[in-house]
């Protein structure tokens, strides 16, 4: 059995979440929009889950709109606001997930002015540049992720929120990677919109949510049917919604224990990597997610290293699963000003509840043996 060290790509389904889902995979099979009894049972389950997800992020349940995942939530936020939000630029952080970045670029294709927000060498917003950028003309929307999926770097969202609000713009926060790993409070962050995903927090794939304040006008992406107050047509994915709700409940209850567990393992890994020659850890100087560590080994090519580690039974990633197989260095690291040849060697380790100290030790040993027998590229 392989050692799985890629929890930022996806997490295993918690058995308790599966238990919550099972009755809806087989039992009351109503369409949640049907008026008969089966339909009402499905409707109740959907609304209960909405409250559970709302509780995880401290927002009213009415602010939660179901989507098919984080990608759709991010697309809905950017395109939905741009469609009805009037003039003004759309700004997005240089290290955003492709779902934000490419949705923003699609807006550029429609004639909207779109700019990226510079980050420093640690991956944090360059505040001085951001201030100038906000002041340079009207801004409609700013998209900044709470925690980066590759480096784990946590953005100072409350600070950004104050500036964005003063500029009269909306702030969208991609919280797909932070929810369930660190405390996420919609109101305290100062966000106007926020994306979430089920399968990054031990829930099922194929379900996510967009949280948004009622003051934000939003146009739907998928037209058809009155579901989600007209914001998102389509028959509700009841089992997955119930699973997301259950996973959100567990994440809230176990947040501190989970963070402590992965933090201890991450620190162990970081210490061991520090003893290897030529290791560079990205975002090392700033606050990061407790489970994430991205590093490069001098002279090695990340994709090749990844394949060798896979053969030895360690599942890691070079960056985002969404970008894998493309052979391009991570835009996140390039955005942080990391040289291409260094970025090309990046390996991301993302830990989860199933990992143990032995996994870390085995991984470091595997890495060390590869580093010794493989001639640097």
């Amino acid at each position: 059995m392989a050692v799985y060290l890629d929890h930022n790509a996806t997490t295993p389904l918690d058995p308790r979440v599966l238990d919550a889902m099972l009755p809806y995979l087989t039992g009351p099979y109503g369409n949640a929009s049907s008026l008969h009894r089966f339909g009402r049972a499905a409707r109740d389950a959907v609304e209960r889950a909405r409250e559970q997800v709302a509780r995880l992020v401290g927002c009213p349940s009415g602010a939660v709109t179901w989507t098919s995942g984080g990608t759709e939530a991010n697309n809905l936020a950017l395109k939905g606001v741009a469609a009805v939000g009037g003039p003004g630029r759309v700004l997005y952080g240089a290290t955003e997930h492709p779902a934000v970045l490419e949705a923003a670029e699609a807006l550029r294709g429609q004639g909207r002015a779109v700019e990226s927000v510079r980050v420093d060498a640690q991956g944090c917003v360059d505040w001085t540049a951001f201030e100038t950028q906000l002041a340079a003309g009207p801004v409609l929307l700013v998209a900044l992720m709470h925690a980066n999926n590759e480096t784990g770097v946590i953005q100072d969202i409350p600070r950004a929120a104050t500036m964005v609000q003063a500029a009269g713009a909306w702030l969208h926060v991609d919280a797909v990677q932070s929810a369930g790993k660190i405390a996420v409070d919609f109101a305290a962050l100062g966000a106007d919109l926020m994306s979430l995903s089920g399968h990054k927090l031990y829930g099922p794939k194929g379900i996510g949510a967009l949280v948004h304040r009622s003051a934000v006008d939003l146009a739907p992406l998928h037209h058809g049917g009155p579901q989600e107050r007209g914001l998102r047509g389509g028959t509700e994915n009841v089992a997955a919604i119930v699973g997301f709700g259950a996973a959100a409940d567990l994440a809230r209850e176990e947040l501190d224990a989970r963070a402590a567990h992965t933090r201890a393992l991450r620190d162990r890994l970081e210490a061991a990597l520090g003893a290897l020659p030529g290791v560079r850890i990205f975002g090392a100087g700033v606050e990061r997610l407790p489970n994430t560590l991205q590093f490069a080994l001098a002279g090695f090519e990340g994709e090749a290293l990844l394949m060798q580690l896979d053969r030895k039974g360690y599942g890691v990633s070079s960056g985002s699963a969404c970008a894998s197989g493309k052979g391009e260095p991570s835009h996140v690291l390039l955005g942080m000003g990391i040289a291409r040849e260094v970025a090309a060697g990046a390996i991301r380790v993302s830990l989860g509840q199933g990992n143990r100290e032995a996994d870390i030790d085995g991984f470091v040993a595997a890495l060390r043996s590869l580093a010794m027998v493989t001639t640097p590229a």
């Binding site: 392989a2 890629d6 790509a9 996806t10 389904l13 599966l18 995979l25 087989t26 099979y29 109503g30 369409n31 929009s33 049907s34 008026l35 008969h36 089966f38 339909g39 098919s68 995942g69 984080g70 990608t71 991010n74 697309n75 997930h97 492709p98 779902a99 490419e102 949705a103 670029e105 699609a106 399968h199 099922p204 794939k205 194929g206 379900i207 992406l221 998928h222 037209h223 058809g224 049917g225 009155p226 579901q227 047509g233 389509g234 028959t235 509700e236 994915n237 997955a240 994709e303 394949m307 896979d310 360690y314 599942g315 990633s317 070079s318 699963a321 969404c322 894998s324 197989g325 493309k326």
Partner: protein, 385 residues
Amino acid sequence: MIYLDHAATTPVDPRVRDAMLRWLDDADGFGNPASDHALGRRARAAVEAARAQVAALLGAQADEIVWTSGATESNNLAIKGALEFRAAPGAHVISSRIEHKSVVDTLRHLEAAGLRVSWLGPDAGGRITAEQVLSALRPETAIVSLMWVNNETGVINPVVELAPRLRERGVLFHVDAVQAAGKLPIDLAAVPIDLLSVSAHKCYGPKGIGALFVRKRPRARLAPQLHGGGHEQGMRSGTLATHQIAGMGAAFALAAQRLEDDARHGVALRERLWERLRVLPRIHRNGDAAHAAPHLLNVSFEGIEGESLRALLPGLALSSGSACSSATREPSYVLRALGRDDELAGASLRFSPGRATTPAQIDAAAAQVVEVVQALRALSPRWDA
């Protein structure tokens, strides 16, 4: 409770459930299909196997299947994606007034932004004819979007006949086949439809997963509607939900095996139900029975009020029309398009039996409906039988 609402959604078949569980509870089944490691490859193999199963039911190639979150997304992607790719100002689209909400609302939205749409109305039998479509064509017509089987009446539109004639004219043809897949034979190798939407949960598969067939030769081109990561040949980004996809694959494989049996069973139950209901005078079967899908029967009852009728049938799970419209409680726009007035359209029931429905359930359901209709008519001052 007798469940006669399979056109709204179906129970997940136990074999489908088993196919899904493999990817939900196995220690090695949870990988992200986009990941480049052993778990990722395992999930990816399941996704590709399911793609071949879905393609097989439709007579398509596996690489012509794009996963979506359901038919609503498929319909949105087909119409918006094709129009956006062509980016032709002043484009014209032909569709009908009996399409599913996801097509109607998408086109209305685009209409407000300048798209020109010809909304065809059905004949008294609920059908859109091929001639109607062909005579609505204009030089600037970009797409024809027409459903294969109507979700309220079960009427089959002549898409097979229409497809080659639209191909000759170079007009892209999108077909919403949500109510046709698994109910009627579909062979996209022989029928030149360009884009075709399907859904799993109408076919004993899970909710939250659907697909869009996008023809490769000649290639139908689409602009993506969900950006980020470039999954699905760049046409639809987002992490693939392995268990849902595996479930859709299993459901479509099962539907392919059972196609004839399911159809025979459906027709037998549908006609049995109609025989038992027609003891009532002044009822109307909506849609031409000569062109009806096996799984749907839609009936309007004169002299009663729809709301009271449904309220007095608590033992029957059925619908007055599309589940998507039932929350709004407006009389069906489909039945009004067929020429039923508001009152009669409101006093209608859609019965959709499924694989597990028995003749005894049909008889019991018919008896309840007959009894309630007779009771309501007896109380009605407007009923002068």
